[in-house]
């Protein structure tokens, strides 16, 4: 028997907070197969003094450190702030305490240490890490700021974070308000170790089918690198201004932006124009996908003249996309979830994601415990599909992904 004391609100150690996750990993035998988390986060703001040094423009670099304090948000002009209540007014205590979590020594970057801790506790073999406040960067009215921060972040993470651990990967942020700068970023960073794709944050007002983006899509297709659309919310969105609670903005906002971009992507025939380009829709859960499939199919049958590039129904293109799983809607009706899995070809297209450390994170058990999946399919969703998509070596066999599946 052991007796442990807990002082709520005093300090944070990921290894203690996620102790139950570690037991789940052990109970379910995660060590026997590869788990890939295709969407986890760090807080780049906590390393902003380092990132700011990579800003290329001396004027913007000076602005980043104005007053002797390097800040990314708050009074800074570099990243738009976002009204929100992610920490549930302090109920999710890791938000206010995460800056207090101590790293061990200075040989390994603190971010790497914290990421490793979470991975280890959850039983994850690879993680694809994304920034957090930068999810709002697409709303910056000064395009040159988005480009400056995106490039500085790309240089910093590829030089100071990713080389430290081959199990930590990223899909680099594209400064999508500047198509030429986005293309340049792809060309410059696509071959950097740890870069497994590129990512567009969805809170923005640039239609993805605009002709100025075609060279970017071609460049990604040619390199075999996936393009991810990472959702977020914005309370400044005019329609969302009517919502008076964060739950409402969050529940609608994340699928809302992915629905906008996916609709443009499909109706304008981008899958026909770039058939080998792999597209991943990140962090909108799953419930919106059957909804949109039905809406678009129904209207397409009547209005195909408005979508002349399409060779098949919108839902068929949508079945070819990849989707990250979190936050997977667990509302009690397992039949709905089962049907959703069938509609999106989850066995081949669904990618487990945690979104840790954000407030609505999902553990691998969210997938592993589903009663309608057999062991083989669970392993595909938890890691096999991602290994194939991102070209990751199977962490358990150290061979090509899928090599050990026959043993399941």
């Amino acid at each position: 028997m052991t007796l442990r004391s807990v002082e709520v609100g005093e300090g944070l150690d990921t290894r203690e907070l996620l102790a139950h996750a570690s037991r789940q990993a052990e109970d379910r035998g995660y060590s026997n197969f590869t788990i890939v988390d295709v969407d986890s986060h760090h807080y780049e703001t906590e390393s902003w003094a380092e990132i700011a040094k990579y800003i290329e423009s001396p004027i913007i670099r000076h602005l980043a450190g104005a007053g002797g304090v390097s800040k990314l948000t708050g009074q800074s002009s570099l990243i738009p702030s976002q009204i929100g209540n992610q920490d549930l007014a302090g109920r999710i205590s890791r938000y206010r305490m995460r800056s207090l979590e101590k790293a061990e020594g200075k040989d390994v970057h603190r971010d790497v240490q914290l990421i490793r801790r979470a991975m280890s506790m959850m039983g994850i073999d690879y993680t694809i890490i994304f920034p957090t406040p930068m999810l709002n960067l697409g709303m910056h009215p000064q395009v040159e700021m988005e480009v400056a921060v995106a490039r500085a972040y790309a240089r910093w993470i590829t030089e100071e974070i990713l080389p430290a651990d081959p199990t930590i990967k990223t899909m680099l942020y594209l400064p999508f308000n500047d198509p030429e700068a986005s293309l340049k970023l792809v060309e410059e960073f696509a071959d950097r170790p740890g870069v497994v794709g590129f990512m567009v944050t969805t809170v923005r007002y640039r239609p993805v089918h605009h002709n100025s983006y075609m060279k970017i899509y071609a460049a990604l297709e040619e390199r075999g690198l996936p393009l991810g659309f990472h959702a977020a919310y914005s309370w400044q969105e005019r329609a969302m201004e009517q919502l008076n609670k964060f739950i409402s903005v969050h529940a609608l906002g994340f699928p809302f932006y992915n629905m906008i971009h996916l609709t443009n992507w499909v109706i304008n025939g981008l899958p026909e124009r770039f058939p080998a380009l792999k597209v991943v829709w990140i962090e909108s859960g799953l419930a919106w996908i059957p909804f949109l499939m039905q809406r678009l199919d129904n209207e397409y049958m009547m209005r195909s003249s408005e979508a002349p590039l399409l060779q098949k129904r919108p839902s068929e293109y949508m079945r070819d996309f990849y989707y990250s799983s979190q936050p997977m809607e667990q509302t009690g009706n397992m039949e709905v979830l089962k049907m959703t899995f069938e509609m999106i070809d989850a066995e081949n297209r669904l990618l487990y994601s945690s979104d840790y450390p954000h407030w609505d994170f999902d553990l691998p058990s969210v997938i592993y415990d589903l009663p309608f999946l057999d062991e083989r399919v669970k392993r595909r969703i938890l890691g096999g599909n991602a290994c194939e998509l991102f070209g990751l070596e199977d962490a358990k066999t150290r061979g090509p992904a899928g090599e050990n599946r026959e043993r399941v």
Partner: protein
């Protein structure tokens, strides 16, 4: 560890959960015995002990904040006058995702058909024991 008769009449194991005076505001004890993990805490003068696994994803529910249930106050027309913390109902909140449970009953705040497993707490000589 001692053995006594629990509520069910079967033999219950008594697990030592610290001294009563160690339970201040924000203080919790977590007793682990094999696969069983029980969170113990005090609200006002009453001790509570629950299974320390949230019914959602298994988070350490007893290690979260304790806070009043949020209520909305309506006027006679159905308009909202204000929101306030309950005078009578406290919740314990799972630190992983925010699921809330009634401190006294262990019932899930959003669905009272779901509840945390509760354990009896015995105070003896300034020491706290959990029966399981």
């Amino acid at each position: 560890m001692k053995v006594s008769e629990g509520e069910t009449g079967r033999e219950a194991v008594e697990l030592f959960a610290g001294k009563a005076h160690e339970y201040g505001e924000g203080s919790r004890k977590v007793v682990r015995d094999g696969e069983t993990e029980i969170g113990v805490f005090r609200v006002d003068e009453t001790f509570y002990a629950y299974d320390n696994y949230c019914l959602h994803q298994g988070g350490p529910v007893c290690e979260g904040v304790i806070i009043g249930k949020v209520e909305a106050v309506l006027d006679e027309d159905g308009g909202v006058i204000e929101e306030r913390f309950s005078y009578s109902e406290n919740h314990i909140v799972c630190p992983w995702h925010g699921w809330e449970y009634n401190v006294v009953t262990g019932e899930c705040a959003t669905d009272r058909r779901m509840r945390l497993k509760r354990y009896e707490v015995v105070l003896r000589g300034g020491e706290v024991y959990v029966l399981c």
